[in-house]
Symmetry: C2
Subunit: 200 residues, 2 copies
Amino acid sequence: MAIADWLPTSVRAAGIKRALAAGQVLFRAGNRTEGLYQVLSGKIHLARVDRSGREVLLHIAGPDETLAEASLFSPTYHCDAIARSDAVVRLYPQAALLAEFARHPKAAQAFMAMLARQVMDLRTRLEQRNIHSARDRIRHYLAVNAGADGRTVALPGTLKDLALELGLTHEALYRTLADMAADGEIERGRGTIRLLARSI
Amino acid sequence: MAIADWLPTSVRAAGIKRALAAGQVLFRAGNRTEGLYQVLSGKIHLARVDRSGREVLLHIAGPDETLAEASLFSPTYHCDAIARSDAVVRLYPQAALLAEFARHPKAAQAFMAMLARQVMDLRTRLEQRNIHSARDRIRHYLAVNAGADGRTVALPGTLKDLALELGLTHEALYRTLADMAADGEIERGRGTIRLLARSI
DNA sequence: CGGCGTTTTGAGAGAGCTCAACATCGGTGG
DNA sequence: CCACCGATGTTGAGCTCTCTCAAAACGCCG
């Protein structure tokens, strides 16, 4: 899913790095599209401003994510992008990408594959949010993200980050994890969780 | 986002219709990929079976949705697809699609654009689920889905369907909508909701 | 008219959120 | 080497909000 996986080096070299201060605007809805951005560090808020002037948050893009994919195929951006912390992004010009796709179907396919995978992942995460119980939601996450052995899950970041991804408060996550460990359902190592017994 | 928007008629004609009875398996993880499916009617569950034999739901695909997009670029399916009601699907063979993409960059771009739009929509819906208050979640939905005038929202289906999409029980949705109408924040017509005042 | 699904309202309980305090760990500088 | 500091991790208690279960009104269609 990393950008290096599908972007040919020729295009990657054409990327333009840009540093943003917290609060700085990357683009506004209606601006002419320049291309695809990749977030290198920091957080970029994608938002729309509604009639009453309130900001409606659409997405928060973090390191390694791309943003404005859809804008690649549109003449203007459809939302605002604002740095919510100091951030660094890289711009891949629209023309270079589209030309690359037209010339090399393999590149196009790789891009499609990445988008398709993102769609799957997002749908899975959305499905997860339909689970109300904290415990079951964690179970779902562990089952979906289990490694090759089907029992060990590597945690990508801190538990706080995980709580955010799961849509739980970090307190609820800590508590439930502790309960599950006490019940012998999981075993916690540093950076990993191992599923032990089947429950129910 | 409908399939007709990006699929050339030549390929669309090559689609193979298939009827499924409730409970019938469309494909299993590990099967060789045949192509991209479009759901015409009914509901298809995409799920994975975890180590302890429990089914982990990844997504429920309804009418007009496509499924197994990522499998287009993979030799085997990575999850099970099972009809959870009587259903009809249409299969677009992998080879035909990929050949079309290689031959006509425009078709490939249209497909990418559709995927990119789906990614955006899904990210927006995921962001919405981070809002805990029912009222604020509804506000977010209304703001995001407001029509051209920025104040009128057309409801796609029943309120029950909307409740499902919002991740609320239908009771909670009804109640909150009634409260918002009583407070003069919205006005309800049949099939539409109109935003009235700005609130706090 | 009768049946089915949607819409609506009621009451109660439970689960996670909020606020709060504290422990722990890793890095930083005196 | 140790004190300090910030962020992460952990536990406690209370409360609000939504979910759950229940029942009834409404609208649509045969």
